[in-house]
Symmetry: C2
Subunit: 217 residues, 2 copies
DNA sequence: CCCGGAACTTGAACACGTTCAACTGGGGGG
DNA sequence: CCCCCCAGTTGAACGTGTTCAAGTTCCGGG
């Protein structure tokens, strides 16, 4: 633990508090530095830019999500409940921060940004996320068709990203529509998995797996 | 035609040229104004900000896409060919601008931005796009299941947005992977439409339609 | 011919994110 | 005990997007 770690946390906490109070754009680096009692240049000693403050904050949420998801997975082996629980846990955690969610989406969408889910810098956290959905599936009482099994965790991760994107756009009170989306689409996904066993559907699923495999980097 | 329309076009043309030469960030409003032979304030008289230059440029591409798509639809009634043709036309048009595509994605992803596909300002162009996919389906020789028909154009538009997002991330030469994605997923979509008639699949489709209807604004 | 106003044009000024050369202080080697 | 080193810290300075009060040009009506 270096000398400056306390300062770093202080700056981050101050920034997050101000993001909530005023929003991202209205929070200036000067104001964050002043409020935290440091010089503006010092903030840049710990964070390479304003974006990185948001990234660091999102990193905290991801850690917390993994922890809460693990708790959910300990409770049940029902696939629907597991998937639903993990997705809801994510939405629960992000809910207080919906106000500046669009800011994070804006930087995350840029393929060149380190905070993009598909960037080299995010490989570790992306792998962790895919691993989480692997746990969701493998620890469940539902057996997944062989052809689909290897791709399913990655597919569910993409679905989670999609839900997150929907959440960003969701202006309904308490993001109720995102909750509704999860509650209606999770059972649907599980039903689709059962359907994938039908002979008539199988070859389509095989092709679908091929497409998804092609999308992977 | 107002007095200043020529100036407006000149500024936009200059900006687009400079975006290609130097990229978005390295193109300053001062440089655009100087190069176009106007004062910086004048550029702001015609465009409310740097974003709007990109938006205006994208508007041009959308118009061109509609025109080329119409040409494709005149040629064939085969649904696969129609859908494939319309998607490829879009990728063809955007191809020369892949370099600063991420810039556009960055502003378009913000729900508060006028250039977001889901914003109030984009309603007209979104309706036009959904209408385009309605033409794709209705002018084809394939008959679509009744339950699915009302939602299909909107669904295909969302798929198109997805393809566009994939294209933004596609670093392969000539965005070949996006082409491959289109070529493999379009026949898959058409097969899924046929599959939707199976009694065992029907109720799932009904639920799927319900989810999609819930996603709509 | 003149005048009023609207469209158009100007560039200095502002606040911002970011950089960087200079400074400080405390801990470890001589 | 001293000195040196470097992580930690400073704030002025740079270039940016954007604003705005002030000018200029142009057209239509009196």
């Amino acid at each position: 633990m270096d000398r400056g770690d306390h300062t770093k946390q202080l700056i981050l906490d101050t920034a997050v508090a101000m993001f909530h109070e005023r929003g991202y754009d209205a929070t200036t680096m000067r104001a964050v530095a002043t409020e935290a009692g440091v010089a503006v240049g010092n903030a840049y000693h710990y964070f390479s830019g304003k974006d990185e403050l948001v990234q660091a904050f999102y990193g905290r949420i991801q850690d917390e999500h993994r922890a809460r998801a693990a708790a959910v997975l300990r409770e049940t082996t029902d696939l629907t409940a597991r998937l639903r629980g993990v997705l809801h846990a994510g939405v629960d955690l992000m809910a207080p921060h919906h106000g500046f969610a669009s800011t994070f989406a804006r930087t995350a969408i840029d393929p060149a940004s380190p905070s993009s889910p598909f960037s080299a810098q995010s490989t570790a956290s992306a792998d962790a996320a895919v691993g989480l959905f692997r746990d969701v599936v493998e620890g469940s009482s539902t057996t997944v068709p062989r052809t689909l099994a290897p791709e399913l965790p990655h597919l569910l991760w993409l679905a989670y990203l999609g839900v997150t994107l929907f959440w960003v756009y969701d202006g309904s009170p308490g993001q109720a529509r995102t909750r509704a989306l999860i509650d209606s689409s999770v059972p649907l996904i599980v039903r689709l998995l059962r359907l994938a066993r039908l002979p008539a559907v199988r070859s389509v699923v095989a092709d679908l797996v091929g497409v998804v495999r092609g999308v992977r980097v």
